[in-house]
């Protein structure tokens, strides 16, 4: 079943590239607008041996990772505390709701002033951005707990701590991991944005340089690699989620035996 799915996906992707190639060769799409997929693929393969590009990828990814870790360490406990203590949530929630919608990139010019090293500014913005999906998802999860399960435990004489440990946390866990996944993709977006606007090292700078050299094939190839990297990160996290939270999906009516 999984193989069939993968096969269909591969056919879909190959078909997409083939159609673009044909449209390009026939002349429907101007090759200047969109270089032939074949030549983009060649450039993409070339990038794998391009030390400069690999270094840039490393820089971008390491800032994402550091930022994300810092965000998880601060935001998830904060969300748990808010989710368990309604008084704290009532007090802090307005502040969270007030700060959260501020788009992180709006703070970019400020970050450029505050951090002379663009690397630090990048990480600071990533932490700021990644925090909110984590807090909100943790809270969402804490609120989405089946009230019947909570009350069953309560009526069997379990205390509030046990209710959190045995019911709330396990049922919020899938939401938290979704929060991590969202934050990871947003972290990549913010990292690249900072690089595009403020320069420094990273994938964004690589694309800007390719643009100034008028290398569309390189721009698209580098962008595509970033997409692949994002996809890999996401599937790794989603795979882990699926493995760990099998019961959650079983509840949603998905077949487990494949």
């Amino acid at each position: 079943m999984i193989n069939k799915k993968a096969l269909r996906g591969a056919v879909g992707a190959a078909g997409f590239l083939l159609i673009l190639e044909i449209l390009g060769r026939v002349g429907v799409i101007d090759p200047y607008t969109l270089p032939f997929p074949s030549s983009i693929l060649v450039s993409a393969a070339g990038l794998l041996a391009n030390g400069e590009f690999l270094l840039d990828v490393g820089v971008t990814l390491s800032s994402c990772l550091i930022g994300l870790l810092l965000a998880v360490v601060t935001a998830v406990p904060a969300g748990l505390v808010m989710g368990t203590l309604p008084a704290v949530e009532r007090a802090v929630r307005p502040l969270v709701e007030f700060l959260r919608p501020i788009p992180s990139v709006a703070l970019l010019p400020l970050a450029m002033f505050l951090f002379t090293v663009s690397e630090q500014g990048k990480i600071a913005l990533i932490v700021y951005t990644a925090c909110w999906p984590l807090i909100i998802n943790t809270l969402y999860g804490m609120h989405d707990v089946d009230p019947l399960a909570k009350e069953t435990l309560r009526s069997f004489g379990f205390g509030p701590y046990d209710v959190v440990r045995l019911v709330s946390l396990p049922s919020a866990a899938p939401f938290i991991s979704t929060g991590v996944r969202i934050s990871a993709s947003v972290a990549l977006i913010v990292a690249v944005s900072v690089e595009l606007v403020a320069g420094g090292e990273g994938i964004g700078t690589f694309v800007t340089d390719a643009a100034s050299g008028n290398r569309r094939d390189l721009m698209i190839a580098a962008t595509a690699w970033t997409g692949v990297i994002g996809l890999l990160i996401n599937s790794l996290l989603a795979g882990a989620e699926r493995r760990i939270f099998r019961w959650h999906r079983a509840q949603a009516g998905e077949e487990l035996v494949r």
């Binding site: 269909r8 996906g9 879909g12 992707a13 078909g15 997409f16 607008t33 007090a91 802090v92 307005p94 502040l95 709701e97 007030f98 959260r100 919608p101 501020i102 788009p103 992180s104 990139v105 709006a106 970019l108 010019p109 400020l110 450029m112 002033f113 505050l114 609120h143 089946d146 009230p147 019947l148 993709s185 977006i189 990292a191 690249v192 944005s193 595009l196 606007v197 994938i203 694309v207 800007t208 643009a211 008028n214 569309r216 721009m219 698209i220 580098a222 962008t223 595509a224 970033t226 997409g227 692949v228 990297i229 994002g230 996809l231 990160i233 996401n234 599937s235 999906r249 949603a252 009516g253």
Partner: protein
């Protein structure tokens, strides 16, 4: 009346934060952090002290604020409409979804800001670039959420539909859409933020007007209060869009909240 008073009282942390911010910045005299009162005065002067016939908007607001808003709303609405229709359709057509799934997830994984330099070589600097950026940023998360929501419908509900002999249209409107709605709204909520990010980034990189452009100009001139007014405007914009969206979501999803609540 008392209920409103209670709700207002629950927001006590906001004025307290402002007060602390005001006092700290005044005491510390930090160059990059002007006190909120200074920012507010500047905000009024720069954007909202225009003549009455212009609804108090200044020339700056006409040149930078309104174009940004127009593009944001247009791009977001268009992208969401398309994404929901395509997503729900694909969600119910499992085989077709298998074919396009990797492509969708690939495009969704491309950080949309990276496409702005690419679009820029095509469209040049200006509104088409901003719209393309916003649409590309918004489309994928909404599409994927709609697809997932429409796909993983509780099997019990679908079997009930079959037992009661509901038509396809009825099944879509009565069961699939409602059960996909929370997921779709999660995607929409995310997309509001993404649309705003793309609006700002595309104005940073490829524009000669807009709030983002104005902000970057202020930054390069070390005009700190102007930069902060832009931050405040963008923050308020995010806040208002989010609040409006939440109201709408709460209105539409009342039944979902009801089903999850006992006391």
């Amino acid at each position: 009346m008392t209920r409103i008073a209670v709700r207002v009282a629950q927001l006590w942390i906001i004025p307290v934060t402002f007060l602390v911010w005001e006092l700290t910045t005044r005491v510390a005299e930090a160059i990059y952090f002007p006190p909120p009162s200074t920012i507010l005065v500047h905000l009024y002067e720069q954007w909202f002290s225009g003549p009455l016939v212009h609804l108090f908007l200044t020339q700056d607001a006409f040149d930078h604020l309104l174009p940004s808003l127009g593009r944001l709303i247009l791009g977001w609405a268009a992208a969401c409409a398309v994404a929901i229709v395509v997503g729900v359709t694909l969600g119910r057509l499992a085989v077709l979804a298998d074919f396009v799934n990797p492509l969708i997830h690939f495009f969704r994984s491309v950080p949309p800001p990276l496409l702005i330099p690419i679009f820029m070589t095509l469209t040049g600097v200006g509104t088409p670039l901003q719209l393309a950026g916003i649409v590309f940023g918004v489309v994928w998360p909404v599409l994927i959420n709609s697809l997932d929501g429409a796909r993983y419908v509780d099997r019990g509900y679908l079997e009930t539909c079959e037992v009661f002999g509901l038509s396809r249209v009825q099944r879509l409107t009565r069961v699939v859409l409602p059960s996909a709605a929370p997921k779709i709204f999660a995607g929409l909520r995310l997309s509001v933020a993404l649309a705003l990010i793309m609006m700002i980034i595309s104005e940073y990189i490829g524009s000669t007007e807009g709030i983002g452009y104005r902000m970057l100009v202020a930054q390069s001139q070390v005009d700190i209060p102007s930069m902060w007014t832009a931050i405040v405007i963008l923050g308020v914009l995010g806040l208002v869009l989010n609040a409006a969206f939440l109201r709408f979501e709460r209105h539409v999803l009342t039944w979902h909240r009801g089903a999850r609540k006992t006391d």
